[in-house]
């Protein structure tokens, strides 16, 4: 059997140096004429161990982690030349207990079925993994549009972009509106800070998105398709373009596709220009039409009057990736995963203070605790788990004591957070919740399109209050004011951005009111993040008297002599934090 060596070249892998690893292995192979095939794949989700190299030989499959150039030389020498796998570097294998086995084995991969298992730039490999079989099956078995829509309805698939609206119903509405021209749009404008699920799918399995869109186009009789993709994802755009070209050659896109006479359907990519609000479907349509991405009033819904005023169906990347699998395996196979109202699986991007940051796909109904501790490996540096932020700027923070909440749309909504697109940012005791709320408000304030007064002005006013609180100038009635503003904004904004913008503030007030009170009443930041509320002193025992803090202090508030402990004059100290970051001996104490 041939030996294959595969290097993971997703964005995160490349950022971690996977291109260098690939070039190194390629050079070794060519220099010594080594007997293996060298291949590329995309993200398998284990971002925290990138660069990853997978070796498959007659004994089995082994994934090596943290393979920099030096390690690559070592691995090739031992594993390929001496047939002696290096156990300590292996993070996953089905042959023995490796460090990350449970990470892979506790997942259910439907959306990510191909990510990390094939070359995303090869249509042949996609087809070998049952790619385009779902669409071919529809053609061969003469499955009607109504039957396709029924299968999607029965599967219980709900929009994975965050809204959670039934995908089947959306298709049904779009199908019911008759028109010469109709459109299918894929929303790939993943703007949530802290979320990268869609990026990984676009980079790792672009054909599954095309196939999902083609099936949707068949179901609603669409004539044109658009993928609205963030310009910040250059690799995703490149791979989508390659995939579209290949699909054309095969007759899967273009004229009379899949041999169906008179069915013309094509897809093009529209690069977003950087506006979070364009994730909202009517704003996205405005942006494709070349205008400012401002939401429009609904109804009419896009299913009736969307792009260029034609019936339009918009789904998210992850939703489309589910579609071919559901058609191929049947609605029942899909709906056997999940809870009563949330079927199937959900992809989460784990990030923040978590040991294994990366992508995971779990069945709906798993507890948040299991996702963070079983899959995510718990908190970095043995710190205490404090909260998890779900749903990005539209979502909220769920505290540690509610971590038994299960992952499903309704249970997460009940906490005040939202499922969102799947960003899960984990926070530990060193994260200040008021600061986090301020961070999100600052984001939504900048991204508010300005159409609705409550969103435009209200987020600004809320941010000002939060800034005041974190600067030690909070007033007693500030919490109440924040809440009042929050409900006004929620009630009086046109689109999802404004309606959900106050969520991070509301949930942090609900679960971490004591932290707000500490900032306002006692002028203290318990997590020691808000600098104006801290007092900087020098640890007299640890200080070596190196003069570094003194030289760097912009306020000349530090006094001392060489080799003698220094002092900070509290009256002069501007609390800028420079001494703390410059000290090499950790002798600046924050209280």
């Amino acid at each position: 059997m041939n030996i294959t060596v595969t290097v993971g070249l997703g964005s995160c892998g490349i950022a971690a140096g996977a291109n260098k690893t690939y070039e190194k292995i390629k050079a070794l192979k060519e220099q010594e004429n080594l007997p293996f095939d060298l291949q590329k794949t995309s993200c398998i989700g284990m971002c925290y161990r990138e660069p990853l190299v997978e070796i498959t030989d007659e004994t089995g499959t082994y994934i090596y982690g943290d393979v920099n150039e030096d390690r690559a030389v070592e691995v090739i020498e031992k594993h390929i030349n001496q047939q002696d796998p290096i156990r300590e570097y292996i993070v996953y294998t089905d042959l023995f207990e490796a460090s990350e086995n449970d990470f892979i084995q506790s997942q259910v991969k439907i959306v990510l079925r191909n990510c990390g298992y094939m070359d995303p730039e090869s249509i042949t490999e996609y087809e070998q993994r049952h790619g385009y079989t779902a669409m071919k099956m529809i053609v061969m078995q003469n499955i009607t549009r109504e039957e396709v829509i029924k299968t999607i309805l029965d599967s219980g698939l709900r929009g994975r972009g965050g809204g959670g609206f039934s995908t089947g119903l959306k298709w049904k509405f779009a199908n019911a509106n008759k028109s010469e021209q109709k459109y299918v749009i894929c929303n790939a404008d993943e703007g949530d800070p802290g979320a990268f699920m869609d990026r990984s799918v676009l980079e790792g399995d672009p054909h599954s998105i095309l196939e999902g869109m083609i099936i949707a186009a068949y179901a609603i009789e669409a004539t044109g398709g658009v993928i609205y993709c963030r310009a910040e994802y250059p690799l995703a755009i490149k791979r989508l373009n390659i995939a579209i070209g290949q699909a054309h050659e095969k007759g899967y896109l273009g004229k009379n596709i899949f041999g169906i006479r008179g069915w013309d359907f094509d897809i093009y990519i529209k690069e977003g220009a950087g506006a979070f609000v364009c994730g909202e479907e009517t704003a996205l349509i405005a942006s494709i039409e070349g205008e400012r991405g401002m939401p429009r009033k609904r109804p009419p819904f896009p299913a009736a009057s969307g792009l260029w005023k034609k019936p339009t169906n918009i789904n998210n990347v992850e939703t489309f990736a589910n579609v071919p699998w559901i058609i191929l395996n049947g609605a029942a196979a899909y709906s056997k995963y999940g809870t009563e109202k949330s079927k199937g699986t959900k992809v989460f991007a784990l990030a923040g203070k978590i040991r294994r940051s990366g992508l995971v796909e779990v069945p709906m109904g798993m507890t948040i605790k299991d996702v963070i501790f079983k899959l995510g490996g718990g908190i970095k540096n043995n710190k205490r788990f404090k909260a998890v932020q779900l749903g990005g700027p539209s979502g909220g923070c769920i505290p540690d004591y509610l971590s038994d909440t299960i992952v499903d749309y309704d249970s997460v909504n009940a906490t005040g957070a939202i499922m969102g697109s799947g960003g899960m940012v984990v926070m530990d005791e060193t994260t200040c919740m008021v600061d986090v709320a301020k961070f999100f408000l600052d984001f939504t304030r900048k991204e508010s399109c300005g159409k609705c007064t409550f969103c435009r002005m209200g987020t600004m006013r809320m941010l000002e209050i939060l800034e005041r609180i974190t600067n030690g100038k909070g007033r007693e009635d500030d919490i109440q004011k924040l809440e009042e503003l929050a409900y006004q904004i929620k009630d009086n904004s046109l689109c999802g951005l404004g309606q959900t913008a106050p969520n991070p503030v509301l949930t942090t007030i609900r679960y971490f009111r004591d932290e707000y009170e500490a900032h306002i009443m006692h002028k203290k930041c318990p997590a020691k993040v808000c600098r104006p509320l801290l007092t900087y002193t020098v640890d007299q025992e640890k200080c070596t008297g190196c003069l570094v803090c003194m030289k760097n202090c912009p306020a000349k508030a530090i006094a001392g002599e060489r080799k003698k402990p220094h002092f900070i004059n509290q009256e002069l100290c501007t609390k800028c934090g420079v001494c703390f970051s410059k000290c090499k001996f950790a002798s600046i104490i924050l209280t």
Binding site: S11, C12, I14, A15, A16, C47, Y48, E50, E190, G191, D192, P193, G194, A195, F196, R199, A231, E232, Y233, P234, K270, E271, A273, G274, A275, F276, S287, I288, E289, G290, E291, R292, G293, W308, A349, A351, G352, K353, S357, G358, Q389, G392, G423, V425, M427, T431, V436, F439, F440, F443, C449, S581
Partner: protein, 172 residues
């Protein structure tokens, strides 16, 4: 913060020589298409690094799009710049994962070292410093991106070292 996108000294534009022929092809390609404004601006920015005023005027005249509409769109999206930028743009990620892992320190160290504020360009027009929302490499937080290269798991000192090395490398 976004890069200062509107040039306050509009007279400066005229001192910059802009070769308007460079966009002829772009205009030809997009002229007749529906919803062509954003691709036109994106294409122009790829050519000039920003969208100079004469380019606005030319596109407006040839494609029949009112200047006001063009300006409205260009100032709406974060991507468009109306003032020249440095040779390299340092994008410091301030996404959630980076924020909770002290992205502030990265920005502050770079500001101190380059002697510019967020959104500004160095005097020699070598670097522009910009903080961005999320680069999608959350597992490597905190992160910055220069050109196509992403640098992860940074500290303030490490970021400064990388930036200095790139400049040294190009000077030699």
């Amino acid at each position: 913060m976004r890069i200062a996108r509107i040039n306050s000294k509009s007279e400066d534009d005229k001192s910059e020589t802009v070769d308007l022929r460079l966009i002829d092809q772009l205009i030809e390609k997009n002229k007749a298409k529906k919803g062509n404004l954003i691709p036109l601006l994106q294409g122009a920015q790829d050519i000039y690094g920003f969208v100079p005023r004469p380019v606005f005027e030319k596109i407006s005249a040839e494609c029949g799009i009112p200047l006001s509409e063009m300006f409205g769109v260009a100032t709406f999206y974060a991507q468009f710049r109306l003032a020249p930028v440095g040779k390299h743009i340092i994008k410091v990620c301030h996404g959630t994962a980076c924020h909770v892992q002290n992205a502030k320190e990265i920005s502050e160290s770079l500001e101190e070292s380059l002697k510019i504020k967020d959104g500004e360009t160095t005097e020699d027009r070598f670097y522009t410093l910009e903080s961005v929302a999320c680069l999608g490499c959350c597992s490597l937080a905190p992160v910055m991106m220069i050109g196509d290269q992403t640098y992860g798991k940074l500290t303030g000192n490490e970021a400064v070292r990388i930036v200095k090395n790139i400049k040294l490398g190009e000077q030699n």
